[in-house]
Amino acid sequence: MTDATAETITDTPAEPASAKANRRSRGYWAGVAHDSRKLGFWFVAPAVLLLLFIVVFPLAMQLYLSLTWWTPLDGVRWYRAYESFNSGDNYARLLTDGALWAALGRTVLLMAIAVPAQFLLGLGLAYLFMEQFVGRKFFYSILLTPMMIVPAVVGLIFFLLFQGTGPVNDTLRLPTSFAWLTDVHRAMLAVIIADTWQWTPLMFLILLAGMLGVPADQLTAGRLLGASNWQNFCKIVLPRMKSVIAIALVLRSVECFKIFDVIFVMTKGGPGVETETISLFLYKKTFADLDWSYVAAIGLTILFSLSLIAARGLSYAAKRKG
């Protein structure tokens, strides 16, 4: 036993001093292969460089521009924007910008209605799909189709559906004068319906995955111990899905906050500004007003706020995991 151990230990022969000296003489690169830290650094370096280029640089540039009055109309190159440094006036301005806050309010309103609607519909569908039934796979595929469609196309579909002479009015037996997309009260509802149609399947998919993750034995145990299907769902399935629900809500809320394509195609933010969400507001500020430094300040503020909310939501999800 002792001999065997000794043999194993001496199995790796000591490196001859001449080899070390030889390697030293070939400089830094010869040593990289033998130093796991250096080797790791060079393996990771390309990915880090790429990240710097696509994430850090645009963010830094945006921060830089947001602290100036720079616009492309000035004819000054962007890196010389410091010449119009404004000591953070853009950030002070956004605090008192009524149009911005109104757009933010409409975005939050849209989120507050669309996301819970998508959640409840997704949860209901997932509950139905917990059971086996004829055609389950077929309906599953059909249900997932909307989220595969390009949002602009969804916008176009609902633009056509909600025309005065379109199929919605026709089905509901409403007169052709009944306007959806040009009515100040109904335009947002139409947008919410379109968004809910497209994104309920994602909610359904995430929630179904969470439900199927609850061990079958626990549900059987619940049934044996006298719980009805509904009691099983409320007392065993839902409490075990808290983290999945949190992730689904955070994901959809963040996406809903950024909604652009559907609204752009359906109403272009109208009538007036009734469906102008924060993304459309920024779009108009950028391409109509060319107020780039202000847009940069708003963009950064939103990014920071959303990251904070998402991080809180996800850390809650991580704590509730299992």
């Binding site: 061990p215 059987t220 044996l224 111990l225 006298g226």
Partner: protein, 356 residues
Amino acid sequence: MNAISIQGAIKKYPKFTLGPIDLSVERGELFGILGPPSAGKTSILKLILGLVKPDRGKVLIGGANSDEMEVAERQISMVFQNLALFPHMSGRENIAFPLTERGVSSKEIAARLDAVSDVLHVGHILHKNPAQMSGGERQRIALGRALIADSRAILLDEPIAALDARLREEMRVELKRLQRTNNQTFVYVSHDEEEVMAIADRVAVVIDGRVAQVGAPDDVYNKPNSLSVAQVIGSPPMNLFQGRFSADGRHFECGDIVVAVAGIRDVPAGEQGTLGIRPEDIHRAGDHATRRFRISVNSIEPLGGYTIVNATLGGQLIKIRVSGQLDGPDDHGGSVVFDERRLHLFDSEGDRLGME
């Protein structure tokens, strides 16, 4: 009256058919179901629970046909292999779950919880969640959840398989004590023969979806009614020799191994058969022993209280179980004898010969 009775139940699955199953479990009995993995043991439990309906035959619960009974109406509890405790509930909530679901008053829940936690000695862990408990503690909570429901019977599906060996031994003693204390009907399923034999009043051996034998553990061990039961029961397994009965029906011959089969009825003279001898029924040959067999020892496994000798007899590997430890390397080397009172003979169909 039987607590549970299965009469000619058959359940067909795409690649497996269970049954026909005929079983009856008496009230207050600890009934074991034993068999190799995928033999259909858990499917029998599902029939009893009502999680699957038999294609033919019926299941009687408390003497009544269970065809129209819902799962919960059967009043049968189960302890799952993975225990299936609810991880988001405390030990107290887990145990009380069946009562809260039935709308039992909180006063009665508290009283019954106290009674169950006294029996199971779990009062000190009721506030913990399952993740904070040890394997044995989780086991007790799962049992408590089954006991508190005041069920007709408790089904236990390999309930201690996930525990370590020492804890398994402790838990099976505990299970027996609980069953006796409460005079509960237990149906205990396991592939571990030692576990079932140690605690069951009666055992059903299930092989390939059928009940191969039902009886007291001693009977099943000492008089397996078929070759397949003989192969499943016993650790180390029974040594089997395939050979032929002599033309006069007085001997069984397998190469150099020749044993007398006197006293066994209906010997199929001249036909093929199988001789079985348990490892503990092979002994070192004394000086005056007749009908001795030469063996060559391959290896020895000293296991403390007993020793397993792996040897070759007539070109076939056999196992010999010896009490205690061997005196020296040559002990049990050389020649051995079979205890001829404890031979097991099976005909070419695998059925036991000479059974009462």
